[in-house]
């Protein structure tokens, strides 16, 4: 890919030198350079902190605090990664996060998919109130629900367990998922279902065989949204989980960033290991994400 980019850039340069003489061409060139310059600058600002974490994670243990700005530091090693995997329970934390997050997302998406269908296709008393409830639930301050949730989980004796975390997380992104899925279902023509109904399926059958397969992009967006919310959460986790064996990776990284001594090398290595898979999934699905976010609202 890099080679392709370089050759494309060379071709661009070749055509540039011939264009410089014509004033219209010159203006176009100026615009071209300006647009690319601004975007490259913005992209640098976006990417740089990530690269810096990478560079910190490569630093040898005695040079963690330096004013060196080079991306690959002198004497780069992967020691921080090795000690992170060996000396801490990092893999265990990742596993905890993964279990909790996937369970949460599956529950969240399945609840949202049926509820959104009800909102999209039926008229029933309480529909508007339900939608308003969903919208206003977004306005509840994050810190507000933690204490009652904590008491509830304590009451159910689910402190420090996967199940407690899954229960606490399961509805947190439900309103947003329902909203997105409803917007998507609205764009699927009703005639498809009507045809299926004429052919003899039930309404539930039509939903299961027609609507759900057609809305795969929206379902994956909802899944992604649920996934990232639960994956990155730490405020609830901080209250519910207290033994470091059960920590999610967010709490684990916090522990490395201790009160007085911060294990910067390990912290950076852990951040990289956590970020890269999420980044890949996110970038892979970003096309769907864009269409899904705007579909519901374009209709206005």
């Amino acid at each position: 890919m890099l080679r392709k980019m370089i050759s494309a850039f060379n071709a661009e340069l070749d055509s540039l030198s011939s264009q410089l003489k014509d004033p219209i061409q010159r203006r176009r060139l100026f615009k071209f350079l300006l647009v690319h310059l601004v975007i490259i600058l913005a992209a640098a600002v976006c990417v740089y902190p990530l690269l810096r974490i990478f560079s910190v994670s490569l630093r040898p243990g005695d040079k963690l605090f330096s004013t060196d700005l080079s991306l690959v530091p002198a004497g780069a090693t992967f020691k921080a990664y090795a000690s992170l995997l060996k000396d801490t329970m990092f893999l265990r934390w990742l596993w905890n996060s993964l279990v909790i997050t996937i369970a949460t997302s599956v529950i969240g998406v399945s609840l949202a998919s049926t509820a959104a269908y009800a909102f999209s296709r039926f008229r029933f008393p309480g529909k508007k109130a339900g939608l308003i409830l969903l919208l206003s639930s977004q306005m509840i301050p994050a810190g507000m629900l933690i204490l009652p949730l904590f008491l509830m989980i304590m009451k159910l004796k689910l402190m420090n367990t996967y199940l407690g975390m899954i229960i606490a997380y399961s509805v947190s992104s439900l309103p947003f998922s329902i909203w997105i899925l409803k917007g998507y279902y609205d764009t699927i023509p009703r005639s498809l279902e009507e045809a299926a109904l004429v052919d003899g399926t039930s309404q539930v059958g039509a939903f299961w065989r027609i609507i759900l397969p057609l809305s795969t992009p929206a379902l994956s967006i909802a899944f992604l949204f649920n996934f990232t919310t639960a994956w990155n959460e730490y405020l609830v986790a901080r209250v519910v989980l207290f033994s470091s064996k059960q920590y999610t990776w967010t709490l684990g990284l916090f522990e490395l960033q201790g009160q007085y001594i911060t294990q910067w090398g390990m912290f950076a290595a852990g951040s990289m290991l956590v970020t890269i898979p999420v980044l890949c999934v996110f970038l892979y699905s970003s096309k769907w994400l864009i269409s899904g976010l705007t579909l519901g609202s374009v209709k206005g």
Binding site: V38, P49, S137, V239, V278, V298
Partner: protein
């Protein structure tokens, strides 16, 4: 804990009874086709409490509260039977049920519980009493008065926090939209490497927020952060700028709110960019062609074509962004929340979190949360109302 436990048991007991009696009742209704009759409701409401009372009277002396419970439970059963089990709306309600049961248990119930707490006095000194006896002193509106007159932390008042929050929300959303719009416009050109650029530009959004914020916090570190290193180099290279005051700054201790704002702007632009880009791509190019024939300038096209057509996409995103920014606890808590963090950057929601979990003033923070919720609700309703009005105008 006692009150929760007894409440829990009572609720379970009632649910079990209601399920049993409801099933029995439903069988009778179904069998005799009662539910279509006009006298279904009054008869059900009258008959059921009498029967229930006859069953439970030997167990305990009936009181007014019993009557109310039975009446309420019966109303629910009868209504459920009429509209949900046998009605036209069976399917949508069944489809909605799991999601709304979840929301009721994990969102509405905690909300109501906070409401209950806000009229009582639960704090570190009374929590043991609550655990042992299940009782907390009732204080009426005291907590609400305290919200407006005392500080949730150690020095900042509610009003200062409110002003700071509004400033924070406005600045952030403004720059999110501005930056997102500018980048979306640039990306909407037919340029080379568009996909690569877009991929790179969404990275702040795609990174786990904890990592992103802590990494940015590192960049604002007084001696090892990128920002200060660069500022120091600029000051060293151009002495006259150093005279004007350009140079390394104690970002985290002297300018915490500014730092948080910069970090949050950095985090929030990609979302807006993506949303706006989606909107821009849905605008048909024929409008621009027509405007070109009429000789419109770039800014005229922007003002009269792009902005009005992008509005339906932009407004919901801005509303959502406003609510999210207002409620954004992550950035501020992660930047200033740890050991010895300052209060100078706290906005309403982060002060709320600290009041509850650093200072253990549970009831106070409950009242505080209710106030914040009401405020936000009011703001968004006005916002959406304005949006609807604008839509009708169009």
């Amino acid at each position: 804990m006692e009150i929760l436990r007894s409440l829990y048991e009572v609720v379970w007991f009632i649910v079990l009874i209601a399920l049993g009696v409801g099933a029995l009742e439903g069988y009778f209704y179904y069998h005799f086709k009662f539910h279509d009759r006009r006298w279904f409701f009054p008869a059900a409401l009258a008959a059921f409490p009498l029967a229930a009372l006859a069953v439970s009277a030997p167990l305990s002396a009936p009181s007014f509260a019993h009557w109310l419970w039975f009446l309420g439970a019966e109303a629910v059963v009868a209504a459920a039977f009429r509209w949900i089990v046998r009605g036209r709306h069976t399917l949508p309600y069944l489809l909605l049920a799991p999601a709304f049961v979840g929301l009721a248990l994990l969102l509405v119930y905690p909300f109501v519980f906070e409401f209950y707490l806000s009229f009582h006095d639960l704090k570190l000194t009374t929590i043991m009493m609550w655990k042992n006896t299940g009782r907390i002193p009732f204080v009426g509106l005291d907590q609400y008065i305290k919200v407006f007159t005392t500080s949730p932390l150690s020095e900042v008042t509610f009003w200062a926090l409110l002003g700071r929050t509004l400033l924070w929300t406005f600045t952030n959303v403004f720059f999110h939209v501005l930056g997102g719009f500018a980048l979306a416009l640039l990306l909407n050109n037919s340029i080379r490497f568009k996909g690569v650029y877009r991929t790179l530009l969404v990275i702040p959004w795609a990174m786990p927020q904890v990592v992103a914020v802590l990494a940015m916090r590192g960049e604002f570190h007084a001696t090892n952060g990128f920002v200060n290193i660069v500022l120091g180099k600029i000051a060293a290279a151009f002495p006259f700028l150093a005279h004007l005051g350009v140079g390394p700054v104690q970002w985290l201790s002297d300018w915490p709110l500014t730092t948080c704002t910069i970090i949050n702007i950095w985090l929030g632009i990609p979302f807006m960019m993506v949303v706006i880009l989606g909107g821009l791509q849905s605008i048909s190019s024929s409008y621009y062609d027509a405007a070109d024939i009429d000789g419109a300038t770039y800014f005229q096209k922007l003002r009269f074509i792009t902005l009005p057509l992008i509005r339906p996409v932009l407004m919901p995103a801005v509303t959502l962004g406003t609510v999210w920014t207002f409620n954004n606890i992550n950035v501020i808590y992660l930047v200033t929340g740890q050991a010895g963090g300052t209060e100078q950057a706290d906005i309403l929601v982060s002060a709320l979190y600290k009041a509850a979990f650093t200072y253990n003033r549970y009831s106070y923070s409950a009242a505080f949360a209710i106030v914040v919720f009401a405020l936000l609700f009011f703001i968004s309703v006005t916002y959406l109302h304005g949006f609807d009005a604008a839509k009708e105008e169009r």
